[in-house]
Symmetry: C2
Subunit: 333 residues, 2 copies
């Protein structure tokens, strides 16, 4: 059986109160007492029971990070930053995956709301509307990561997707490309990411006097395979595009591979720009131009926002914009 405060107290000939004080480093303890307690503590190899402590204090120091899939590089890198920063703040991170499936997301929210030890939740949703998420907010602080999926009463941390996409496309235009295709996601209401990026794309096209509507290829997800398939289709078009704006780096990677297979040279025949700036993109052939969100900044802002909300559950929702940057590499010529 585990050693408890009582055991230590008994051994040291003091009360549990005193032991607790020593364990928690309180002031005002007689040096002699402290020494005696310390000795007992070590001799018995006491380890505090965190569950009991949390029950008492009503806080666990655990936050939950919900994201589509941890094996997708962007989310892996984001999770890394979150774990990193949270750890430095004395918080541990639990991870759950939604698979990007709206049903599963709702279910997760329900179970999180119903029963959980987590102090708060960071939710990186793909398909869910803010309204769906609001169900959780009554129970536990929740911070939304990524796209703002709707006018909502929740805290939200992310980059300005429309502007980022606009800059990426403006860059292609600057490089002399005119037949630019956007690639990725559904562009529909359920997929805020693609909606915003598409909007930025259109904005840039319009600003340059190009046709904003024409060239958009949907994909069922943001993975390499999907992009490869889409590119195969795109290359059948009567007028071939001269540039590709992919809504994720993984899509871009799939596109690069397929373009290579089809003998289309990048960037000469086709410029390619990605989004997320995952580690692998720096090393692809050709190296990928991409929008780099400040992932560490997102993580820090999100964890901080959550911590703030723990102290002030009633404060009004904050909208936090994190910087991004377009990293130009070989693929955009």
């Amino acid at each position: 059986m585990a050693v408890t405060l009582r055991d230590v107290a008994q051994k040291a000939g003091v009360s549990v109160r005193t032991v607790s004080n020593v364990v928690n480093g309180f002031q005002h303890i007689a040096p002699a007492t402290r020494a005696r307690v310390q000795a007992a503590l070590e001799e018995l190899d006491y380890r505090p029971n965190l569950v009991a402590r949390s029950l008492r204090q009503g806080r666990t120091g655990i936050i939950m990070l919900v994201l589509p899939e941890i094996n997708v590089s962007y989310f892996g890198e984001l999770a890394h930053e979150v774990v990193d920063y949270a750890t430095s703040a004395g918080i541990t991170v639990q991870i759950d995956e939604s698979g990007g499936d709206p049903e599963r997301e709702k279910q997760l929210i329900t179970s999180l709301a119903q029963a959980s030890w987590v102090d708060g939740v960071l939710f990186s949703s793909l398909g869910l509307r803010g309204v769906d998420l609001a169900g959780l907010s009554g129970t536990r602080p929740l911070v939304l990561l990524g796209e703002r999926t709707a006018r909502t009463t929740l805290d939200h941390v992310g980059i300005d997707n429309v502007e980022a996409a606009r800059q990426a496309v403006a860059h292609l235009i600057e490089r002399g490309r005119t037949r630019i295709a956007a690639l990725g996601g559904s562009g529909g209401a359920r997929d805020a990411t693609s909606r915003y990026r598409l909007k930025g794309f259109q904005k840039a096209m319009q600003a340059a006097g190009l046709d904003p509507a024409g060239l958009y290829l949907r994909t069922p997800d943001y993975r390499r395979t999907s992009a490869a398939a889409a590119v195969r289709e795109l290359l059948q078009w009567p007028e071939r595009p001269d540039a590709l704006f992919c809504f994720s780096d993984e899509l871009a990677a799939g596109a690069l591979r397929e373009l290579h297979d089809q003998g289309v040279r990048v960037p000469r025949d086709m410029a390619v720009v990605g989004f997320d700036d995952i580690e692998a993109s720096r090393f692809s052939v050709p190296a990928l131009t991409s929008v780099r969100p400040d992932k560490a900044g997102i993580a820090k802002a999100a964890v901080d926002a959550l911590l703030n909300r723990l102290d002030d559950p009633q404060g009004k929702p904050r909208e936090i914009d994190v910087p991004f940057e377009l990293v130009v590499r070989e693929s955009s010529g």
Copy 2:
């Protein structure tokens, strides 16, 4: 304030015991009572307090997954499988990163041993010896993932690294390569991964009557950048190798990129084989030949082993070998 069992009991005019029974789906409850309790439950929107429940039961249903870095694709993919399988078993996963730093690993073990919620720990260590880890095993079940770092009393799940490496190199030899270089890690005692893979490399070389000792390039870690630097050096050698066996796919990716920059054609001038078979490797140019460990198999075996150990803390340590497979693609010609 949160709704407790007492509140519900009072409302329904029964005892907390009865409410608890209803909540936990026990048998032998008068239908009328059950209905009344159900109504109260819903009306008050009761949510069980998991912390209290855990305190009482002595189990949290949380396991901790410790790995070097979640943003490294292999670990991201492994974590994905772990989260996936654990979730299906009703377990939540906490993630902590060691950064591959032995000091940090020890510190993590200490803090895990000292105070923690987790029922058990899955530890994917790079640099730690089994002995270091044993400190935890007294407190909480621990399963080692990846390399068996030492003769140890702990459960261990992984693939046969020596044999996997041997097969990878044998494949290169079969393809007619003779000057094969191994690349990655330190090969030293603190890095079991590279030690085993190096051993497999040497075994294959020896079996083919080739010089097993000559060609080994150390790297400080398993990342792309390090491989690029190593390859730059390797290309200076008087007799250039005709094949590269990289101890991770990320290393291989860095190598591919550098070889491309230096005008070395893969696989014609240099064949490349990786290890881990991360998603990106299927799409690189050229597509990478790699050793694919059964990640889902590892995850399942590891979680199961942990769960078993919870029930039977005294059972003797199990050594679980998970299958792997060499996936041949373009890079090995």
